[in-house]
Symmetry: D3
Subunit: 320 residues, 6 copies
């Protein structure tokens, strides 16, 4: 069973909207090696896991899989923020923006030239479950052979490929919003690379100098370096509410990344930052609620409560 | 950010393995109107939500979306349990079962006649992210127009269709394992139908006698009736760890299902039952860990710890 | 612009329901070489047609394309009729059939063993836009290069392949409902083969003995022979309401099928037979309207009319 | 059975070619909520309709479905016209245009920078059965649960989403060719929204102020306003040649769009305008017929007729 | 540049036709981990290879990729042979078999009950480019990140998964035709597993006891054991006609499979066996050539030669 | 069984990198009518061929199919060369190019504006198995009905469409690298068009003036004219190593292209040119091997050999 808190797993730094960067990030969300895939792959591997003796491996998969849901939330929100208001950016005409097609205006003309027209046409300046070339995410991506060494080997390759692709995205844009999330995911992918490498070490493999893949020079990636200095590549959280996870039996000892750190699975979760709600976008016909609706809702709710009270007495206050 | 506990959201009753039922249930997991889709649709709608005034609606989406992850876990595990050991059921030869192809035997010959050969060939008697006709789940299923009334209308239709399909699956099999999960999801889909109907009521719609869709007679579905008698169709949990959800502002008052109940959003989550790990399946070459591997792992871990201790002192105990 | 009459283009003979035959016919509806594809391909070729001098070719495409919509209607309805009531056929238990899941019964258990479980689970014993292996129809099937000889060559091959596949389906089932439609389409595909072959003859090609493809012996196919004796393979209707079609400039002269007939484009359309509406299927939760709903509708309509009359006076009688 | 007239259902206004607008309109043709989808969805719902008592609902579906075929024709032709000759527009070099690759020239270089290179590479400056992001249309879009309230609810949501997307496309381009078709479809989608809303009213629902979705201000859309002033949003044609449609039993009374109009189903069809054929495009190797071919065709036809006359006497004049 | 000889890379043993086994083998041909995928993946990796210093790695990919084309030929032909004549097998009526639909007979009725109806309906009792669940092969399967360690790691996992799935197929059927090919591919997949494992060893990895994956006991698989005894799992051919391959610099030394063998890359290719052509299948309307056609061809050829001789003198004899 | 030589079937002329041209060429590689499709279609038709009397037809299919593998290699390598180093072209900043993200730089920013972002994000400036609009290649493209005349007719149409599309690509770019390959394939497609046209002539068809399709004027395409002057459109190689091909029985006599040439099947293969390996691309994290790795490899290999020598004596020299 899963729970939620209204916090992002990492901060999304503010910057200008940037729809091209948003589109590149779609690969990290809905691409073949993106967060929706890692999330689903590990949840399926955990559900279908075989062999009670292997509980530490199952718990490792469950913990990383749970983290990936938060990564989906993080990168999806980042894409949304990069798109939000983008018709106005880079000297585009701003005036008719909040008045949909006022007098026949074209406030969404930017859509014709950007990476994925669906960001403005099918979605409302929000994230989509597709990759950077517009292909919808597919269940055929999920790998779960049931053979433990094979599943671990695939997962190691999957995290390394995700990290490779995010390094390439980093090189495509300097937008600070995009980079704050990309840098975080580069470092977390390495933590997961370490986790699966370590699990394979427990089955006898010695990696020597092969890891991490790809080899990167932290000095080239200032936003990444900051997080490496905090040791985030060597921590794995359990995200387990009742402390039953045995993942720490695997995620321990020297890091297979050859960076001299020791792996640490002692924390339940990072602290995170509060999440926020985006403003309305009238040019998308995507108002949350207009003032009349809000009034209506208030009135309806009061009337309902009166009805209910009449029948049952007052609803008890929520305890949560 | 998301968390996990090692409990199933509802009990999976024991019965014989039944691969045909397992395949029918795949529609409820990976089908166009299954749990993977509701989960993804609501998470995307929550991430991309517009209009801070609409927080109660966002929180409703977030809460139901979080519940759907647990439904994915529940139905995926149910499918896995229905498949597990199925080569042995209904008088199939059992002897060579745990000895893969011993002397050229065919312990997996059942796979040639069942609903989806991939359950034995690509997976290891486990759930797949596909529908009952074998189509992989697709990101193109997710609907998120950004227009609140439209998104709610779609969600109402989506839950009703999911419930319709599950009623049909109920009529396809009497297997108790399958039915315990199907009945639970029929009732929870109705709770979600109520939630979206109520949200649309807050925008002015009167449903009168239309709901629930489909109309069903509880007496025909004994497993469902038991849960309706508990009122599960009129509760919505928040799954919110810190009590910030405002979904209760919407999920309140008389049920739009015309069953005389009052909606109740006062509980954080159901209690659930402990989850378990499936046994090994040697005929699938899917051992978790064999005895030699276990010994090796133990030895490796001890050696590693010694190394680490030498360098850093003992790893601190995990606090979670 | 398109119009409709409530008639089927050919009679559907009555026989037992037969879900296996229904599934085979899906190839003729939603397959890569089925009627949805020919319909869409010719409509796109007609819309995008180039060169006003080529109007006879455009009109030939438009006329055949319009016929294909009626073929979609014919084969779709045939599939629906073959599925309708199939849970009862071949000695299946009939009692609980009209009572969905009465007391926990399984009236849809047949679905687990038939060609496409979606016929009972996603549809309600009705046709689907998929092929016989369950693949959804795809826009990537449509071919329209814009080069007239190539488009004609493709269309000739397309009709011949459609006819080949229908001959194979004929060999798979002796169900009279299935065969009445299959036989009709085999003959009409040959008429279209003749049309495109003739169009290519007008561009210089001599087919000699190659056509028709495949070569078939009418005596082997009694249902087909009856229609050939009526000369249906050598007629092409215009389906054009105002007599502007010039397709007859091409569809004339000796048949390229070497059967000694002369092609005839002088008729607007076949006579057809009245269409009917299927009965309700309660086990599918697919009632059209139950008695209470009907009463409600009647009452609502009367009240509405009173409102309207009060405001505007009586609605004028419909003239159509 | 279906018929055709050589008329467009609405006029396509002339303007410059505009391949970016053409690509945006592809969503309205081949997108998940475009005209190919509405057409197919309603035709399948009509074919598979259950319950003879519900004939007015079936006829409503049949009538709207038939109209959608004409919408496919309208928007497909509009896209074709927007693409036709586009290599020459906006100051592009015009000289080598009609001479394919003359001396190694690149008359199609525009294709490398436009929305969908397939418009010039796979098609010949014509419409394709794909959406604005290039995804082929899929049969998996079609929804037909067999449950009448659910099908109507989906159709209401489908028309509203189509209208929402077309409002967004309106805001992307001011091209008059594109807008004449988009504005017409915005208004017709509203008529269909009204139709399905009214059908649900007959089942008890009260919409109050929710419709239309999305809420739009006619004054912002001059091309739309002109059509609203004509009342096109409150008419539904039968497209039924023999007057058997009972759709008018539903499509009557006050409009659920709250615009004070009364619904009117008394007309068979709009008048429409004559359709035309596009010119040849030599740079696409897409000639209809060159002069030599025309001569050859003439000669072939005369010879054929002589043969046929010799055998059978003169072909009788076509009567249609 | 590629060449061909009319020989199969391994013998296909004769046995009864067996369409269920044929369908299981489709996974090995067109599945996500089948031979079409390995072939395409290695050919793309070889074409796009970076770094002239890595020629031994490129040559290893090129050599294995070339072998995979022969594996496609082998398994495709095996499937064809397993299907060929299958309507007659297991006591099915044989008489009308060669007379398509004679008198309305149903010689293809077997198609309705087998794994993939397309084997009889779209193909003519021949192999298809799809997997065992009927999904068409997709270009999205091909992995080529450009990062050498990652590509090698993926390839190792790919070969191991292919071998795992073939071991499962082995357990599904005892048909000797199917098993002769499956056993051969199990052993060759291990050779390729060894190749990629060795390439990764050259980059520093020590596999210790992890390989081969999956662990199998040769004694359980008699057909496999015979080939292992010949050492086929430890040989890699170059398939290079001019001896330029440097793959032997990698494929050498002790086998990483821990079977005590030494790797050997000294042979160009196995000897293979002659390939044959399948008989006609009249019930599929799939005649190669009927007697009249053969006569016609003969006559045409002679006439043509006469023409050519008249113009140019005799065509010189082919030298190949 | 297949073999390889390290030579390209035709020379790839040098020019600037050009990612837009590279993307257009993807249609010729992974498009519905590209080289991957012709290759697979003919290999499947050859594997599944029926009727030993038709061996010349089978051999024709086998020979052309084998040539298509070399075409895949040619066009794939051409795309790779057009992409390679493209971040530097047209005045893009060159300095940080070989230092991945040095100091936070964006050496891959070009990816955001080019035809397919996957060329830089999923691949490493290399070819992908997709078409020019980014759709992955699909097994559903392959056509193999088993009916010989139909298969030949489809193949004729397929080659003509491929040639049509390549003529359009020729008109999109003047890049010499792109054109050298496009021109070669235009001419070879014509040779294959001739082959299938001739095969159909042997079955009785007379093409008269219809071929080639499309009609082109050689003078307009200088690069094509040079190859036509060499007669490459009238040659078909066997690519058969042991001279067993009987394709020459069909590919002989006057060319159906009406260019006055005689068809010639007397050569085994063209000479080709040596193939080369692309340089490393550090900004893609796609190094073949860095210096440390090379040293490591050398050391590992020597140690291994020592081990092996100790056990078995020296490995014998490779004989190939």
């Amino acid at each position: 069973m899963f729970f939620h808190v209204q916090r992002m797993i990492n901060e999304i730094v503010s910057d200008e909207p940037d729809p091209a960067a948003a589109n590149a990030l779609q690969e990290g969300l809905g691409g073949q090696f993106g967060e929706m895939r890692t999330m689903m792959q590990y949840l399926f591997q955990a559900m279908n896991f075989r062999g009670p003796d292997g509980k530490p491996y199952r718990d490792l998969l469950q913990g990383i899989g749970t983290e990936e849901i938060s990564h989906v939330e993080l990168i999806g929100t980042t894409i949304s923020r990069l798109l939000d208001g983008s018709p106005q950016y880079q000297g585009k005409p701003t005036d008719p923006l909040d008045k949909p097609g006022a007098g026949g205006a074209t406030p969404l003309s930017i859509a014709l030239d950007e990476g994925n027209i669906h960001h403005y046409l099918v979605g409302a300046q929000g994230a989509l479950p597709v990759d950077a070339a517009g292909n919808p995410w597919s269940g055929s991506y999920v790998y779960n052979s049931g053979n433990l060494p094979l599943d671990l080997l695939y997962n190691l390759m999957l995290e390394s490929t995700g990290r490779l692709q995010k390094c390439r995205i980093y090189e495509m844009t300097a937008n600070a919003t995009a980079r704050s999330t990309i840098a975080y995911l580069i470092v977390r992918d390495q933590a997961h690379e370490n986790a699966y490498a370590k699990a394979l070490e427990s089955l006898g493999v010695k990696w020597n100098t092969l890891l991490p893949i790809p080899k990167t020079d932290a000095a080239s990636f200032p936003e990444v370096k900051r997080l490496l200095d905090l040791g985030l590549q060597s921590k794995q959280y359990t995200f387990d509410l009742t402390g039953q996870s045995e993942a720490g039996k695997i995620f321990q000892g020297m890091s297979p990344s050859n960076d001299g750190t020791t792996l640490d699975a002692s924390e339940q979760a990072p602290e995170g930052v509060p999440s926020t709600i985006a403003p309305e976008r009238r040019e998308e016909f995507a108002p949350g609620l207009d003032p009349e609706l809000l009034e209506l809702i208030q009135a309806t709710a009061e009337m309902e409560m009166a009805d209910v009270d009449a029948l049952f007495g007052p609803v008890p206050p929520r305890s949560s």
